[in-house]
Symmetry: C2
Subunit: 362 residues, 2 copies
């Protein structure tokens, strides 16, 4: 096995911790002495039962998830949950959505199929460059829930507060791109949902953490697999779950615990992000895209202001051992996604390159 590794700044799927990949490789043909790969295990077998239960327990421990929340291991990505959320939670048929980017907008659009959606706030006018303040949210007391996208990968913005809602209105958060990056007070949310492919593991696994009292209202005559109550009652296994992806999540959680849990993870993430933002703020050559109060610790967006120069930057960064620094087409410029598994050295390498590029091109 060649040991060449690149600094991969992809917005997702994205880097995984090297020890996780190495352990997965070492167990590929024989996991835990079973004589088989995790991919080959019956999901109803004793050894796999141990793996999925251990993974769930680790997630509960690492995220400090209270006992009155169910943890579901699902498929279909966050996008399938854009449908599942209204189908499971809409009782009166009304919901409030904060539109802070492409994915929040898609979620709101999908929910409109199933009920009445009020836009609690939108930052589209300013190119989704910030997160609305609590005082700017127009929240309805009779809404079934209030939806946010906790981190917006494309624009590089992140909610830095837990929104408050009228009594009884649960907050539903898509945390696909910042889950496990910092401690979260789970009790502030009714539902936390995340596609795994940034901080959790491979694409093909979607985790839903849902407060028990919100279950049981799934709309009649809708596809059974989207029913969270069914999934909770069947321990995520009315049918075969994405067994290998769940196993990799378990290894990722083991790695997070080994470095000191989410408190340490947050320190490491803040250190990486601050290094990059401090450098961006110290120069006029690069412009940060997101408003300072809304900057994401996971996705750092910036431009030179000159499209040709941006393209040159991306091209030369590849030659320098980095990849996926091109910004999303709707924003342009550059985006450095620095999720949990991106080492500090990767960010230092990027900053050194940025300085050199600035010297050569300013």
């Amino acid at each position: 096995m060649s040991d060449f590794r690149i600094y991969n700044f992809s917005a997702g799927p994205s880097m995984l911790p090297l020890p996780v990949l190495e352990k997965a490789a070492s167990e590929m043909t024989n996991c835990q002495g079973s004589g088989m790969s995790v991919m080959e295990m019956s999901h109803r077998s004793k050894v796999y039962d141990g793996i999925i239960k251990d993974t769930q327990e680790r997630l509960r421990r690492v995220m400090n998830i209270p006992d009155n929340y169910k943890v579901l291991f699902l498929q279909g990505g966050a996008t399938l949950q854009f449908s599942a959320i209204p189908l499971n939670l809409m009782k009166t048929g009304k919901a409030d959505y904060a539109v802070t980017g492409h994915f929040a907008k898609s979620a709101a659009k999908e929910a409109k199929k199933f009920g009445t959606v009020s836009i609690a706030a939108t930052t589209e006018e300013t190119g989704f460059d910030h997160i609305p303040a609590q005082s700017e949210l127009q929240l309805n007391a009779d809404a079934d829930y209030f939806y946010i996208c906790a981190n917006n990968t494309i624009y590089g913005t992140e909610w830095h507060y837990d929104p408050e809602t009228p009594a009884g209105v649960p907050v539903v958060a898509d945390m696909s791109s910042n889950i496990l990056s910092k401690p979260i007070d789970v009790t502030k949310y009714g539902v936390i949902m995340a596609g795994a492919q940034k901080n959790m593991g491979p694409a093909g696994l979607t985790v839903v953490i849902v407060r028990e009292d919100l279950l049981g209202n799934y709309r009649e005559n809708m596809p059974q697999i989207l029913d969270w109550k069914l999934m909770a009652d069947k321990d995520s296994m009315p049918n075969t779950p994405p067994t290998y992806a769940i196993y990799i999540l378990g290894l990722v959680l083991e790695w997070i615990e080994s470095i000191g849990g989410l408190t340490e993870m947050q320190k490491m993430n803040e250190k990486k992000a601050n290094l990059l933002y401090d450098y961006l703020d110290s120069t006029d050559f690069y412009k940060s895209v997101a408003r300072p109060d809304s900057r994401s610790n996971m996705n750092v967006t910036f431009r030179t202001g000159n499209e040709e120069l941006d393209a040159k930057f991306v091209k030369e960064s590849i030659a320098d051992g980095m990849t996926n620094l091109k910004g999303h087409r709707s924003v342009g410029g550059m985006r450095a996604s620095i999720y949990n598994a991106m080492p500090l050295e990767g960010v230092e390498h990027l900053i050194a390159f940025m300085k050199k590029f600035e010297q050569e091109n300013k």
Copy 2:
């Protein structure tokens, strides 16, 4: 990496070819010189685009899929497709289902949420021990489709003919447990659907092969991710697909091509199944569950007729280096799932054990 491997007779997830697992392990931290695992690749990257296109081309080549069929890489298992099938295909709102086992029955039940389901045939009265003959099928000329489950893992039965339908009524087949086991005339089917976790790869990937003219009738105001037309238009990537599972499918297809394609695969599978059935027919000690004309080449079901003895068989088989031979609870007895990746030696090992067990217990 320990090299202990067990003969795993699981009904699914199930054995994968050892060369596939070994290649996956060797590429785990650096695939194709990219400096990253396939799990870490952006699904929009050039290298991953090569992987998914190559996988699709291999599948088309191996299965001889005509150009007027779309190949979709989906999530959610066959069970989510139980909903997607009526939602995509019901125009008049009527469909015919052949109920040949648990999963066919579940599919019919789910379809009833969305339209009128006629039972074209059911073999439930005889414990799902056979497949109905063409002459026994009650097919409606105005049905939107006719649904079958091509192989019934629990009972060990398999359709050994392609059913004929009234003009214009497409056959929809759940081939989860026998796809890639033999050549199939794809043109006899409107839709072929399969969860990957038997002959294709890891759980978490569902393949749908659909004739183009059947697309475009997805029901309004239903979850977007179940819309095959959307998936076809977006090359299975409106959102992130299960990237790693697709890569493993590619490796499995590479292995099938290396041994001579589906014609050779079928010969190997028939050899394994015939060995086992011939032995079962040669003794009174074991009773074959499925009717001879309907026997599956993938799942071989049998019993001693004595529950305690069956339990003893299962227990002792584990000590002899085999696993997952216990039959499904609804059938009892034993089940040997001998998919593509089960080597001939595994079946020979099982027969030797069966003979010894017979000698010791008759």
